[in-house]
């Protein structure tokens, strides 16, 4: 019988404290899965195979189960995502106010299509559904921050700032 596969990643001590608090908030460990995946995303920058193994080990779930849950949701940062995740809202209210121009501009400026990452690993471009900010359309969410009421000039400035 072989040993269980070793998990290379470890949560930080602060992370472990947070998990302990978290487990006190739910009647079972499984319910803490989404918050623990968020923690992995925060501590390691994205969720890769090893993060899945770690979450599974932490919550006494099977890795297969954790993969199944993780891949149901679209908002976690995954392995290979760039430093900046540009999520262009493409649902109707944004479409009525020009989100296609925003997306085309981003594709043109970054030289990639939606779903791809730039070669320098700086940007990942994603076309996403309603971000719940239709009054400030068009909207692009960059990592956690919303950039609202965008036009082409504003967008170009944003890219310049992110490039640093």
């Amino acid at each position: 019988m072989s040993d269980a596969p070793a998990v290379k990643k470890k949560f930080s001590n602060k992370g472990l404290e947070f998990i302990e608090w978290l487990l006190g908030r739910y009647p079972n460990k499984q319910a803490a899965l989404l918050p623990v995946l968020r923690l992995a995303e925060e501590e390691f920058g994205n969720i890769d195979n090893d993060s899945v193994m770690l979450a599974a080990e932490t919550l006494e779930l099977s890795p297969g189960y954790v993969w199944g849950v993780l891949t149901f949701y679209t908002h976690y940062r995954r392995e290979g995502d760039g430093k900046y995740l540009l999520q262009v809202c493409s649902t109707l209210p944004c479409a009525l106010r020009g989100c296609r121009d925003i997306q085309h501009r981003l594709e043109e400026k970054l030289g990639i299509e939606a779903g791809e990452t730039t070669e320098d690993g700086l940007f990942t471009l994603k076309k996403v559904e309603c971000l719940g900010s239709c009054d400030t359309a068009p909207v692009v969410q960059v990592n956690e921050k919303y950039h609202e009421n965008l036009d082409i000039e504003e967008l170009d400035r944003l890219l310049e700032t992110l490039r640093g």
């Binding site: 079972n28 989404l34 559904e129």
Partner: protein
């Protein structure tokens, strides 16, 4: 009781949201915050709270419009199981962004409403399930909860009354279906966000198989104001079947998109023309989706209607989530519908065949019409498909795709037919599937291996 005229209407849900520091506990308490909750916990019995909410005729603000007090009364009283209150802050219906304002700018009114509701339900655990994208809302809510614990408003001894309530923020991760209450509960349990068959309804068997009430952010915020200002005040606003203040989100082709707090029953044209500044660029109105993208569309001629549950139902559409999506006369309705259908096809959880296949096919058929490949029979096929998707699935996502499809195709049929006719006589490609007989069914690699294998014999 005197009817409050719209011009006398006073905002309550968004009264302070433009003021500096409106999210803090000090600000909230400085404006009478938590006085209602304290009165309720000290003076009323839980049953009296439920009766008051029933009497107020408060209906759910999340989409379904179910009477709030009635929902609460379904929770069994003689149970040993814990009871849960879950706040639905997943706000994901396209065109809806009202709960975000409450959570980012006045979170304590939601905590107060949840506190009163938890007391009524004899619940000691409350989860707020917020969509993953709303990071600022999550931070603002978490800060408000921390402040409330610090001040003894949450925790072991709420406001010195001995009542116990724990409140926890729980972030979603990008799935429309988690706004559906049983999908939300699955997600909260650490699973894929798959809706569950009802019955049992969550009130009887919900989160962790215990009695659970799921209420929307705006609904619970209304509870605060019902106990602050009284049932008579609440019922004096708008139609008796579903009264109260209402947050309406206006988006699309208007001059001033935004969240507007108005009396329930406000005329849709008044909302669009006076509050939201009218159709942008001086264009003409073509149609409005009144209650989030799953509501049936109203043509310009049908828009002279009250924004309340009954008036919109009489026009065969719904108030839904209060997401008012306005389209001007430059809008290509085939394109608009395609966008809506793409959304639902993307968000279908895939459990039920009519939804998984139906949303996908509606998107494909609408897409081929949009791209000049439409067939003359396509609009009728879309109508037929829409009809057959409704009411045949675990949750209403299938209906949510079928309603806009059925209404847009039938009300703007000419645009679909025109596009099909203008299709340039393309070969009518079947996009799905390939030729039935595939001579090269094996990849080169596998063919070589096969040849090797056969050569060996």
């Amino acid at each position: 009781m005197a009817e409050i005229k719209p011009e006398k209407f006073e905002k309550v849900l968004t009264k302070y949201v433009d003021q500096e520091g409106s999210a803090s506990l000090d600000f909230y308490r400085g404006h009478g915050g938590y006085e209602a909750a304290e009165r309720v916990l000290k003076e009323l019995k839980p049953d009296e709270v439920i009766e008051t909410v029933k009497e107020s005729s408060l209906r759910g603000r999340g989409g379904a419009g179910f009477p709030c007090g009635l929902k609460w009364s379904f929770v069994p009283k003689d149970t040993d199981k814990p009871k849960y209150l879950v706040v639905n802050a997943d706000e994901s219906e396209p065109g809806t962004f009202k709960d975000r304002v409450i959570m980012e700018r006045d979170p304590h009114q939601l905590i107060e409403g949840s506190l009163i509701s938890a007391y009524a339900l004899d619940s000691h655990i409350c989860y707020i399930y917020i969509r993953g994208e709303y990071y600022d809302g999550f931070l603002a809510m978490q800060k408000a909860i921390d402040e409330a614990y610090e001040a003894g408003i949450l925790g072991e001894n709420v406001l010195g009354t001995g009542f116990r309530l724990d409140m926890t923020m729980h972030r979603g991760a990008g799935a429309y279906i988690c706004g559906e209450e049983t999908g939300l509960l699955s997600s909260l349990e650490g699973k894929r966000g798959l809706p569950k068959i009802k019955p049992p309804f969550p009130a009887v068997e919900g989160l962790f198989r215990c009695p659970t009430v799921v209420n929307n952010v705006e609904t619970l915020s209304c509870v605060t104001h019902i106990f602050d200002r009284g049932v008579d005040w609440f019922k004096s606003i708008g139609p008796p079947e579903g009264p109260g203040p209402k947050l309406l989100c206006v988006s699309g082709h208007v001059e001033r998109p935004g969240t507007y707090e108005v009396p329930m029953g406000i005329n849709l044209l008044d909302l669009v023309n006076n509050h939201a500044g009218g159709i942008w660029k001086g264009n003409k109105l073509k149609g409005i989706i009144p209650g989030g993208s799953s509501a049936k569309i109203l043509t310009a001629e049908e828009c002279d209607v009250g924004m309340d549950y009954e008036s919109l139902a009489a026009k065969d559409t719904m108030l839904g989530s209060g997401g008012v999506i306005v389209m001007d006369d430059t809008t290509d309705m085939v394109d608009a519908l395609y966008n809506i259908l793409r959304f639902y096809a993307h968000e279908s959880c895939g459990q039920c065949t009519p939804c998984r296949e139906g949303t996908g096919w509606l998107q494909k058929i609408c897409g081929r019409i949009l791209h000049g490949d439409g067939r003359p029979e396509d609009p009728d096929m879309m109508l037929d498909l829409s009809k057959k998707m409704c009411g045949r699935t675990i949750c209403v996502l299938a209906d949510a795709a079928a309603f806009p499809c059925e209404s847009i195709v039938s009300k703007f049929r000419a645009e679909f037919d025109e596009k099909i006719e203008a299709g340039d006589g393309h070969e009518r490609t079947v996009h799905l599937g390939g030729p039935l007989v595939q001579p090269g069914a094996l990849s080169a690699h596998n063919q070589e291996r096969l040849d090797e294998l056969q050569g060996g014999h």
